[in-house]
């Protein structure tokens, strides 16, 4: 049992930390979020050059052979920096499917350029009616004249409008909610019949509603075995749940630090508001929530790295934790900043919105607590 980082992990933490500190201040983040694509392609190239887009991929696939701990390190720092570049959609979601089940040829086509930073990708993992059940897939793929024809809708697809590759789960058999019969397709964004409604999300990121209206794909577009996609999808969503939990812990820590700092400088009644015991105790509660969340994150990341049998339970634990403790920390940070906390101008509001968005993703706190209560 050991909580220390190895040399590579230490280097990674240093380099991501330096990037956030030196090259990604809040003004940069806001500018990137407000740009046409919603992120800065130059920043994305930097991620690729530094090897961050290759973290969870094997060296054979052109990656650096990292795992959940390395992803945790990056995502926690991205949380602190409130990074809007679509790391989750590319590396964790689409990349998570590709590295698990893509053929060598498919990896050449999609994974290699994604790692190189030359291709944007995503995974359309949920549907308008599905809420948090990833097996709830109504989109159908029917074999007609040698091609699979896809019809259906996908909801709130992260990086949806920028992605050149969209991994789409569709039903080749079975009824809605069944785990059997889900097939994963590599869908080029240029495919005929693919419709987008692109939008910004409340946390300054981008997403799209996707419609598939008779999208025809050759069988070579299937990733993995037909009908067998659920296990892959499930594993990728677990990765993503852990990744956004790490991001949330980074955000919580930033909110905690900034709130304490603000309370030392903000003068009311002739004294810093941080001298009031009513506020001090609330900030201690925030600190405790951060420490507890940090601890669970380390535990869950280590179990996931080991492929332990109870890793799923650990991931539900940390997601429940950041869902509940994260909401408390976010709301308290806003409250203790007073009017400034609800101003668009200040970073506090934007941390809070991203934290809130994370709370809604991949199962909210109640959903994960239900899993744990079984």
């Amino acid at each position: 049992m050991d909580f220390s980082f190895d040399d590579i992990q230490t280097m990674l933490a240093d380099s991501v930390g330096k990037f956030i500190d030196n090259e990604y201040d809040f003004e940069t983040r806001q500018a990137n979020a407000g740009s046409d694509r919603g992120y800065d392609p130059a920043v994305w190239r930097t991620f690729a050059e530094l090897g961050w887009t290759g973290i969870p991929f094997s060296e054979a696939d052109g990656g650096i052979g990292g795992g959940p701990v390395e992803l945790m390190i990056v995502m926690r720092a991205f949380g602190r920096g409130l990074v809007v570049e679509p790391y989750l959609a590319n590396v964790v979601l689409a990349g998570g499917v590709l590295r698990r089940v893509a053929s060598a040829e498919q990896k050449d086509d999609w994974l290699a350029p994604m790692i190189a930073g030359e291709l944007q990708a995503t995974l359309a993992f949920t549907e308008p009616q599905a809420r948090y059940d990833i097996a709830d897939i109504a989109t159908r793929a029917e074999l007609r004249g040698g091609n699979y024809v896809l019809d259906g809708s996908k909801a709130v697809v992260p990086n949806g409008a920028n992605a050149e590759l969209i991994v789409v789960p569709a039903r080749t058999s079975g009824a809605r909610n069944e785990r059997e019969g889900i097939t994963l397709f590599a869908v080029p964004a240029s495919s005929e019949g693919l419709g987008y409604k692109a939008y910004a999300t409340v946390d300054g990121q981008r997403a799209a509603e996707l419609s598939l209206d008779g999208v025809a794909l050759a069988p070579s577009a299937i990733l993995g075995e037909p009908g067998d996609g659920f296990a892959t999808l499930d594993a990728v969503i677990d990765d993503a749940t852990l990744a956004v939990s790490a991001e949330a812990v980074g955000i919580m820590r930033a909110l905690q630090d900034k709130t304490v700092e603000y309370s030392k400088n903000r003068m009311q009644f002739g004294v810093p508001i941080g001298s009031f015991q009513a506020l001090q105790h609330r900030m201690v509660d925030m600190l405790t929530a951060c420490e507890q969340s940090h601890s669970l994150l380390l535990w869950a990341s280590m179990l996931a790295a080991d492929g332990a049998a109870d890793a799923k339970r650990a991931i539900s634990s940390i997601k429940y934790q950041v869902g509940t403790a994260g909401r408390r920390v976010g709301e308290e940070a806003v409250q203790l900043h007073g009017g400034m906390g609800v101003s668009w101008e200040l970073d506090i509001a934007h941390y809070f919105k991203r934290l809130t968005a994370i709370g809604q993703m991949f199962g909210n706190a109640d959903w994960h607590l239900d899993r744990l209560a079984e």
Partner: protein, 400 residues
Amino acid sequence: MNVTLSDDELAFRDELRAFFRDRLPEDIRRKQEQGVILDREDHIRFQKLLAEKGWAGVNWPVEYGGTGWTPVQKYLFATEMAEANAPDIVPFGLSMVGPVIYSFGNDEQKRRFLPDILESNVWWCQGYSEPGAGSDLASLKTRAEFDGDAYIVNGTKTWTTLGQHADWIFVLARSRADVARRQEGISFLLVDMSTPGVTVRPIITIEGEHEVNEVHFENVRVPAENLVGEEGAGWTYGKVLLQHERTNIAGVARSRYRLKKLRERAGRAVRGATPLTEDRNFMRKLAAVEVELKALEYTELRTLAAVASGKAPGPESSILKIKGTEVQQAIDTLYLEAAGYYALPYVPEQYVLGFPDGERVGEDTETRFSLQYFNNRKASIYGGSNEIQKNIVAKHVLGL
């Protein structure tokens, strides 16, 4: 980073497991299971077994007879002790005054006191709180006046846990009044309870038991050689002691054991009732406490790892105290709820060894659940109330 135990650690765990399985006396095991309060002799017998094995000074340095264990070994020890449902180590000697004496005492005091603490030959108790000095401990009024070769101690200490069993008491007393800060001028004294002028009076707590006491000092002569460290610097030593107390206070391993047992009970049809596992509300609350406890377990491990790398337990230990006691009390509440109507019968006479099963009200120890709930409201009050802990964290960790 990894959570796996090394082969050495696994072997150590097996050794611990075998020890508690083979050496924990059967009558003590049964008392623990049946909710019977241990007497003085039970505690001493158990702690002497640990001492024989060299495991009594869990946190002590090797040079004073301690284990020198790594954080993981300490974690395993606490885990296996809890899993065997062995008694808690009485903290006042081994966890509190022992570390103060080896950290701040002189060589003569170390020779005189440490071996008896390690071997549980002497039972210690704590003389900190006073009727007028609770959270505001520095307002304590017990006086220690120097008269050449001894301190004459006068005053009253209260909430003295298991003082009725104690041979010695460590006392914070004011030895000087002309000080700039109230924290100055307080001395740390070791007092033999058999000295004339010391009297112990029981205080009965909410659940009806005699666990704590008031200790009165009337012109008690304490030889000058029983002063620990510098005269007037006792507050500093006392704070170190409290930080040790706070890390031990979290009780993670015991809480985990209790949650495991509660989950087992929830799956049973007690008296033919629908198992509590069917009660969604209950199971969700149980799961939420399990998550909080798992987080605390790793917060404690992180703290222990920091201590092992050379840091003393700092103000962060306050977080362990706050969270640890919150989790304990949440578990107490779940047990209370699990008991249903059988939280009501007040039948302390049942909690003796050999009470006939046929005459018992309620199953197992369920009529103790409410008593435990009431008794353990103390957890967020003692050792510096949780509100005081928040003051400490705000000041020393957050710099407010």
